[in-house]
Assembly symmetry: C2
Homo-oligomer: 333 residues x 2
DNA sequence: TTGAAAGCGCTAACAT
DNA sequence: ATGTTAGCGCTTTCAA
């Protein structure tokens, strides 16, 4: 019985197949100029020895690890509850796996510095970074540009470094489409709950809302707009305040998967029946199937960011333009 | 201006500090027998050259990558929505980071085979695996044992391999405590919604429920027990069925963070006011602050599994016993 | 206390 | 079509 089934090296394969070690390497890499007979012998040896190539050795030699890091720099409370995260990670993981890349997870540790994620690349553990921050003027971006870290980011108001690409969901369009939809449905006085303005997502979303309001000849200040942290509690409180204003809103719009639940709870507790519209999630769909929703392509976002990063790592150049993903409005049932 | 700030090697440091490359290596490893003056020079050179050690090279030499993989083998729909995941990953990531380990994410790709996670270790990308499956008789376990993969798993009914350790939340205790609590509160006819029996979590949870029922002299069949997939819809339907039975239940208990919402929706739609009790989450706490809840130590589970795996990798031996984490009952507000 | 040298397992340039 | 050889950047004997 074999003691250990997994320490076979290309050398062992070479010995068993009676060829040179570099021939093994070539055969496994799919080089064309290898004899059919030799190839067969090599593959057989691989199977019997249960060979799996040592990715570390390959990485050292090739100077890349075929691994990418995904950094999720939210505040602690959001990180633990946002339904965005599992779906996004699944997208990243699937696309990376399909292309032979592994994924390193880089959560921020609230206790620590928070910039170690660049070291994942500098230490060659990862070839590039996917970073989901939505902060405006995030200091991380200067760092990434300065260190020349290949990365894909959500759209930013900063100049992109040479190895930075942009993929995002078009939040401005979301805001615009959502407001248009609600107005079309006959709603007159909208309440809008967004994250704080230091979030680019909230900023863009609001800009889109304003576009749609103006388009209909409505003054922006006719809408009740509240900016609150992306937590259940904050959204709840903001909604209560909006509902207390006169004239009272007849529809409320929220721009994150989490806050819409705070909105709904506040509406319920006030005993009102106001239409609420928010980002779709399995839970929202289940709890309030009748409500209109914004379907954000989170899985696709993860996949596209990943594909873009790998493309950039492969070609060595960043794409000419940003990629903007479209969300979809799911009308009231 | 430096073209690239991050390709410095120990050799470069050595040249700059005027010492041998191996001296640099020793100094950085914190070897005691290095002159104070030399150490100082080396550190200075590291700072000016912006040195970050190449983890790949070190991994090749040390034959370990100081990286661990976390594998999340749920069904697709659950993976995308389960609030368990972000919190668990945060726990893993924090503990790993604190100990100088990186974390590789291994989601299953529904399209693919699903056993590639063992290759993460065989290819030396990871030193060990954290695996969160809760399936009874999961075939993965035989595989992990056969391949001698160091891993930490949730408690299983299988014999553990030499390098397998167990850390789990005590689901039996949860079931027992929850039923006891509801009975103490004066509820007489419990409905219980769990995942399917092929889930060990559901199995143990039910066993605990039975313990508590018997303890009070109640027959198990007096409780309405429904086993449904861990999805919103399934829980909703199961709850409707339970509520239709006679005598009708006066409290319903659910054992996952997701299903409780299906239960609550069904109760709401039926226009009843039945107590529901489920696993705590920020959303549940926000939406129904008055309900009793089961507080599962998910973050701690992630941390403990990680600590256990690293301990095992360091010592080379698995711990003598399983670790069981306790959940806490949060009473009705 | 430090230097010299070997080698982890792989790829690739150069020979044959 | 295949063999030879030289490293990738680090840790770790073995000498001095």
């Amino acid at each position: 019985m074999k003691i250990s089934a997994s320490i076979a090296t290309t050398r062992d394969i070479a010995v068993m197949a009676g060829v040179n070690q570099s021939t093994v390497s070539r055969a496994l890499a799919g080089s064309s100029r290898i004899g059919a007979r030799t190839t067969k012998k090599i593959w057989k040896a691989c199977r019997t020895l249960n060979f799996v190539p040592n990715a570390i050795a390959r990485g050292l030699r090739e100077r890349r690890s075929r691994t990418l890091a995904v950094h999720i720099p939210f505040g602690a409370e959001t990180v633990l509850a946002d339904p965005f995260i599992p779906e996004f990670l699944a997208g990243v993981s699937q696309e990376a796996g399909r292309r032979g890349y592994a994924v390193i997870l880089s959560y921020p540790d609230p206790e620590r510095c928070g910039n170690e994620f660049v070291n994942l690349v500098k230490s060659r553990r990862a070839d590039g970074i996917i970073i989901t921050t939505s902060l405006r003027q995030d200091p991380r971006f200067a760092l990434l540009a300065r260190e020349r870290i290949p990365c894909v980011v959500a759209r930013q108001d900063v100049r992109l470094g040479a190895m930075m690409a942009c993929v995002d969901i078009d939040n401005r369009e979301i805001g615009c489409d959502a407001v248009r939809y609600l107005l079309t449905q006959g709603h007159q006085r909208l309440g809008i709950i967004t994250g704080k303005v230091d979030s680019l997502a909230a900023y863009d979303f609001l800009a889109g809302c304003r576009d749609a309001l103006r388009e209909r000849g409505l003054r922006v200040r006719d809408a009740r707009i509240k900016q609150a942290p992306v937590t259940f509690q904050a959204a709840y409180e903001a909604t209560r305040k909006i509902m207390a204003e006169r004239p009272a809103p007849d529809a409320i719009l929220a721009n994150t998967a989490l806050t819409i639940f705070g909105v709904l709870a506040a509406i319920r507790d006030a005993g009102k029946t106001i239409t609420a519209m928010g980002i779709d999630s399995p839970l929202l769909r289940g709890l309030y199937p009748e409500l209109p929703r914004i379907q954000s392509p989170i899985l696709e976002l993860g996949k596209t960011m990943t594909a873009t990063l790998i493309e950039m790592l492969t070609t060595g150049r960043r794409p000419e333009s940003e990629t903007m993903l479209r969300a979809r409005i799911v009308p009231r049932a």
